[in-house]
């Protein structure tokens, strides 16, 4: 079996790769979002700390 035949999936390539491709895409998006969320959360915590420090400095 060559690769062309493999990807053709006997005419069902669109359905098979459409299933696996979209699932892979969704997994990647979720992983990126989870990482992004972590960065955002840590950034917000730092801003919160800085704001508190400034408040302490002014009083």
């Amino acid at each position: 079996m060559n690769w062309g035949e493999f990807f053709a999936m006997k005419g069902y390539g669109f359905y098979v790769w459409g299933s696996y491709g979209v699932a892979l895409l969704i997994f990647i998006i979720e992983i990126v979002l989870v990482r992004h969320k972590r960065n955002i959360t840590l950034q917000q915590l730092r801003l919160l700390r800085d704001a508190e420090k400034e408040e302490e400095g002014t009083t």
Partner: protein, 245 residues
Amino acid sequence: MAINWFKYSAPSTFYWLAGKLAPWFAWPSAVLFAVGLYIGFFVAPTDAQQSEAYRIIFLHVPASIMSMFIYLVMACYAAVGLIFNTRLSSMMASALAPTGALFAFISLWTGALWGKPMWGTWWVWDARLTSELILLFLYFGFIALHASIDDPRRADRASALLAIIGSVNVPIIYFSVKWWNTLHQGSTVKFTGTSMHAAMQQAMFTVLVACWFYAIAVALARVRSIILERERNTQWVAELPEARS
């Protein structure tokens, strides 16, 4: 050795534990996906009736099982949070919801792409498909309800109630192919065993474990952000090295 399990129900300890555990599920998950799909595409034979189209099963069945399983786990966490008033359980429920929704979507998506060549239609309003769609909407409802209430503890309680009531849908999905006359075929995986070819079974179960590990890893990673967000005014978060500028 006696382990004090209650220690890990404290968000501060669990934040650390989740960070340690997540990679131990993430990497095995990637390896299991590779092994499972290798068996599924290169070892498992072509199906006599469905030719190569049947290979969608290696993703469709695990995703469907995960969508139902995660819902039950989420409902359990939500219920524990509601009954024992433990914050961390409610946070775990929130962390699982998006991943569960994603598996429900993959189940419906792969089902549509499998239904088209086999049944001649992307979608039918039959019992199995409709109840799975309701499951996806229950996940959306849980997420939306939680997001719509400002006070996190009140949001936990309200969405917990929704999760618990919605869990009646899970057995309906599972038994739908028995209770009603549906276009969807009967269960591939039964409590009494399956009629599948050995390599097909191995591929499906390997991908199922891979999905399971993936869900655990992602939920653990996500719950860490939820913990930090909701505990931001505590001393331990203030002292966290990664949160210092």
